[in-house]
Symmetry: C2
Subunit: 316 residues, 2 copies
């Protein structure tokens, strides 16, 4: 039977596999943010990861897990976000082709970034159906392996390496908070936390305007993300069966917040820590600042998922 849920051993293997290529990102703290939240917060900075997001970890792990025959035919995905860039760069590093299906209305900056990392871009209509059929055609034509942005065994194991590094550096955390969109980062994070810190709790932060994961956990069945409306462009997607299962087992609570609280947290991180994070990353601090959950006097790890923002269009 094919295993669908990665274990911590898979995270360990991913960690070895990606070591030559991915950055060991720093863990930063801010005295003034600690004072504001009355807690000790440790920020794991995936905004400093290659391509500016944790996604690189999963993409490298997935691509370097392929055997030579699979690899020779390349990889493909549909994405207009960080996963597209991550897969493009990881494929270039292994020296294999990558095809990225992108909606034709994607921003020029994103298209150029993907091409710049060495991938081929195939455009499609901006609907989920068009994405899927276009991707299917690519896979049939080229025999490429589809690397899903989050519903993928090796992508999840790769994503878990960030929390592993965080806990190795700060071993006595009470809580770890990650944002949730499709659930890849949250799944990987929760696998590492449960293995390394069995007493610590995993909390997820989710925008109110895309609260499908929150409602899925409440109802016990996947609620799709139909018309998400949030500034957090990395958190628009729905859970898959796989990530739903992992999250149901490992995550204590999903806490939702308004975009207003997210933007406030994002600006605070920029101002106080002098680092650039994207809105999705700021949700975890946002639930603390907005008093959506009381973690006073606790030691909290936060995964800052990425730092790709359009500097011409800031939300303040």
């Amino acid at each position: 039977m094919k295993k669908i849920i990665p274990t911590y051993d898979d995270v360990l293997r991913a960690s070895e596999r990606i070591k030559p290529f991915a950055k060991k990102t720093p863990v930063l703290t801010s005295k003034s943010i600690n004072e504001l939240c009355n807690a000790d917060i440790f920020f794991k900075c995936e905004n400093f990861q290659k391509v500016g997001a944790f996604k690189f970890r999963g993409a490298v792990n997935a691509i370097f897990s392929l055997n030579d025959e699979q690899a020779s035919k390349g990889v493909a995905t549909h994405s207009s976000g960080n996963h597209a860039q991550a897969l493009a760069l990881a494929a270039t590093i292994r020296g294999i082709p990558a095809t990225i299906v992108m909606p034709e209305n994607s921003s020029r900056v994103k298209i150029d970034a993907v091409i710049g990392y060495g991938a081929e871009v195939v455009f499609c209509q901006p609907t989920l159906k068009a994405r899927e059929t276009t991707l299917e055609k690519v896979i049939i034509q080229k025999g490429s392996t589809f690397i899903h942005p989050y519903d993928n065994y090796n992508v999840i194991a790769g994503a878990g390496t960030s929390a592993k590094e965080l806990i190795e550096e700060v071993p006595n955390l009470d809580y770890v908070i990650a944002p949730v969109g499709g659930g890849g980062l949250l799944s990987g994070t929760s696998i590492s936390v449960k293995a390394l810190l069995p007493d610590a709790k995993v909390i997820a932060a989710e925008p109110e305007g895309a609260d499908d994961a929150f409602r899925s956990l409440q109802s016990g069945a996947i609620v799709p993300s139909l018309k998400p409306n949030t500034i957090c462009d990395g958190l628009l997607t729905s859970l898959s069966e796989r990530t739903f299962k992992i999250i149901s087992q490992n995550v204590s609570e999903i806490v939702t917040l308004s975009d207003e609280d997210t933007i406030r947290a994002m600006k605070l991180i920029w101002e106080r820590m002098k680092i650039i994070v994207e809105p999705s990353s700021a949700t975890a601090l946002g639930i603390l600042l907005g008093n959506k959950i009381d973690l006073k006097a606790k030691r909290i790890g936060i995964i800052l998922s990425g730092g790709n923002v359009d500097l011409q269009k800031l939300p303040w």
Copy 2:
């Protein structure tokens, strides 16, 4: 005779003195910026220093160099910039009063920051003359010690600790570049570089719209900064006799650049490195990007002086 020029021994003493209070800031690199400049660049991140600027090093060193009697009467300065905040926080740490003379048209954000760090603010008309006479009154009334933003023995020695840390971490640099305004950072930097890396060259970056240091070195006498016009609000001031002397001895070249090149470098640092730097900090990379000087294939240290910017008013 009173020594006016600090030596590297003073930098070493400053380093010990500030150690309990100042951050050892990280040195970051960027593969893509290295490729763009065809050089190996090591960024010393004083934007991550307390109060968001290297100024904290000099302020702490100056304040903790006071004897108890001097300290009891407090410190004073006139500044609306990073030095004001640095002095305010350093005084609070030592538990002594600080009085900051600020022009009455200073921004609310800056005034609040200084008060937030625990200093008393005394307002004056927005002219240099008013600043000086107001400061004089404060000093006569309170007996406070004047800590000049850069024309101060201990402030310069403190500023030199940043380059010391940089070189200890990256010992084989060919060049070190720092911005120049009043010359405190450049002086301290040059003292450390000359002591630790006698063969390395110190280069300064200066905005064309405030090129008094460039013209001073050209003419061999201090040219005052009369009507500076640049986005680099940390680099508006003129050299002092002391900083002019140090810079004349130690600095190979002052390279000027347009604000356009500075803004381009600033945006590149934000986008590629995901860190926030202020315009003054970006000048050093700006002279490389703008091909104002050819340092191809060299190993270059850059002091990123600070990260205090108004996020509501970005220059792009």
